[in-house]
Symmetry: C2
């Protein structure tokens, strides 16, 4: 149980057309995250993640870690600085050039703030290799900051210059093995987006600068999206741009979308120049066949909010809301206050905490219940519980606004806990092993 | 339960005097972490954290997060890039100059890869301020990568150029309030080091580049340490350099030590130039009084290993060992193997996992038990369980080497679980709230 008054949440109101740190407010998630005191720009394209957003990201990381356990992926951390020499050897230093932040150390050695780590991880494999076929397939991943010197950072966390990303790398003896891994990992992606309750489409994509033989983008429809996806209303097949469904011939619906993930079979584009080899049974060393998988974590959080929210109220994927429930007690000086004070509210919150795990108490008792309910609704907590006028009845009853419903359920404490127990079991991450 | 054969742990043997990526092997923790496949240098002063070390760091972060909850500290993430302009305004750009990595973006705006965030966090407070006295004291922290372009990176994770750090910042209306917070947070430090079972000394220190009015270093005695601490054998009082104990007049023992934390009352050194103000009750806005607290996470892990290990075997603070227990089954072709195969071992591991939470099975059955025991001892798992010749008795009994003891206990499954239950309850983090 945590008291809202103790939480660092600098709420502001942004007038229409205003700029924050010289940045225009161009989309819903950016405006809501700023106004609700969840993020704060430090300079163009750089953001401080404030406590409530940090909690949401912690939950998202936790879900991703658990999902990746299912495919035996192991977490590591590569340095955020990659030697420029490695990117020269694969030719990407010139290809991606202008978007790279580069750094020189005191000995004039050049590094880049890596936007992705194919070179670094292939170099690691070369360093510890050649890898025996017995150790393959090998899946390693990290959750770290990535950097991209965007020409025009915009849309808040949707296109920032420092962002958090999960990047997973697969190593294989051959293409067949890489394809099996690719199928396993993309199933993990599908599971993750299902847990988050986000309608993310997987679409065949060009491999671009990354190279390789097969690639999918993972696109979430949202009006502010800078990409677009064509979805068949009949068979739900999705593609990047096609008026007609290639699967069933129907006319597609084209909508804006946000890329939240990208997956690749890379082949040997990185392992050949960096000499990352494996030893196959009874044959000579050969280049490792690589695959890679990215999920923009800060972007996915913002994209989820962009897709689900109204213009004025945040709506989270329930599994990553900063708190699952908020309890609002009576206003100071009210009849209910004179009976219970703040005790009742905290008692109810403790019971709820036992069921949902994390609960917030809005202890700003100088404010009316109505005012605090409005703010809780704006923040989008999945369960809002009010200890109002029915809390002095016998037995006491509480108003529950579940899943952002406008009309409350009136429940006694046992019914309330029962309801939340069932609700939270629906949100439970099933991939724990 | 996890199988050791599936873990990415590139074990190597480093010949005496050898260099790895042009770096000399100069201390025990560096050698052991490299040889046991826990870290890997990518270039001088930069390291990849491999899966088993990543697990240890996850545990350490988790303990730190839980301890900081006790003082109501809230986690945020500041960008790793700080505008150079902020450091100009406090004068530190020149003071720390040569150790800073700097970056220019495509618009020639200059940033630094922050080694610490006093300027960034004071700028945040100025941006959201002035802060009401009702919100103070406010404690916010982050766990992120920090950067220092060391002239001579050395000793592996003890002095690297990219490192993980917990940095906590306190904001107060006045010095008295800052002192109260300082005492609360230093008690958290003491609790943390007690959980880790590390004899860390708190010594009064000069404030140096950081400025401020009060400062302590937190020093862990270790032969490879680059600092030194004078400890009184009589009253245990410690200081940075003093032949005679200032508390009781006895002669001190001076030993090498590693700085694992540093704490400061900063006063208004940062809040004045950056205009981070608070509003005190019934008075005009005034500069916030700041305090700050750092713990080098990657350094603390290495320092713990440096202090506890033997020349050839890692010894962890038990609470952060990558796995609490490892189970070793019979060798293929042995009498026990012919009775049980691998089934028995995994069954035992599952039972143990229920008690200690995390358990590893050494499934490399082609190796002898002795060879695998030697490797498990070298890795320093706090509990090594052998399903050997006594596992075919009725009832089956298992050898337990607990806390790196050389002589085993011979226990049946119930005794084994009982023993581990008691042992693991001693290591439990008591600060969960």
């Amino acid at each position: 149980m945590r008291l809202l008054s103790q939480i660092f949440q600098p709420i502001i109101t942004i007038p229409k057309g205003a700029k924050i740190k010289n940045t225009e407010i161009t989309c819903k998630s950016q405006k809501l995250l700023l106004e609700c005191g969840l993020i704060r720009p430090s300079s163009a394209g750089f953001f401080t993640i404030l406590p409530l957003a940090r909690r949401a990201i912690d939950k998202l990381e936790d879900i991703i870690n658990k999902c990746l356990k299912d495919v035996n992926a192991q977490r590591i951390s590569l340095p955020c600085l990659t030697s420029a020499r490695l990117w020269e050897s694969t030719g990407r230093l010139d290809d991606v050039g202008s978007e790279l932040f580069t750094v020189e150390d005191r000995h004039d050695k050049r590094y880049l703030l890596a936007p992705t780590h194919e070179e670094a991880v292939a170099d690691l494999m070369a360093d510890v290799g050649p890898i025996s076929y017995r150790q393959l397939p090998l899946l390693i991943y990290q959750i770290t900051n990535k950097y991209r010197d965007e020409l025009r950072p915009k849309h808040g966390l949707l296109r920032s210059r420092e962002f958090q990303m999960m990047d997973l790398y697969g190593f294989h003896t051959d293409h067949t093995c890489a394809e099996t891994t690719y199928n396993n990992v993309t199933r993990v992606y599908e599971k993750l987006f299902k847990i988050l309750n986000l309608p993310v489409y997987r679409v065949v994509a060009p491999s671009g600068d990354m190279g390789g033989t097969l690639s999918h983008e993972w696109q979430l429809p949202a009006a502010a999206g800078e990409d677009s996806v064509a979805v068949c209303p009949s068979c739900s097949h999705a593609s990047l741009a096609s008026d007609v469904c290639t699967q069933c011939g129907k006319e597609t619906d084209i909508c804006n979308s946000i890329e939240v993930g990208h997956t690749f079979i890379l082949g040997t584009k990185y392992s050949v120049p960096l000499q990352a080899n494996c030893i196959r049974q009874g044959s000579n060393p050969a280049p490792l066949v690589m695959s890679c998988y990215g999920i923009g974590i800060t972007r996915l959080l913002a994209a989820g909010i962009e897709a689900l929210s109204t213009e004025s109220c945040i709506r989270w994927p329930a599994a990553v809301a900063p708190y699952s429930a908020i309890v609002i007690g009576p206003k100071e000086g009210s009849k209910e206050w004179s009976v219970h004070g703040a005790q009742e509210t905290q008692g109810v919150a403790r019971c709820i905490g036992d069921v949902v795990g994390d609960v917030l108490v809005d202890d700003r008792h100088a404010l009316t219940i109505g005012k605090r309910m409005m703010m809780a609704d704006r923040m989008g907590y999945p369960n809002i519980i009010v200890c109002g006028r029915h809390s002095v009845e016998n037995p006491p009853r509480y108003e529950l606004y579940a899943n952002n419903d406008k009309s409350p359920l009136l429940l006694d404490i046992n019914e309330l806990m029962q309801f939340l127990r069932n609700g939270s079991s629906n949100n439970v991450v099933e991939c724990v092993n």
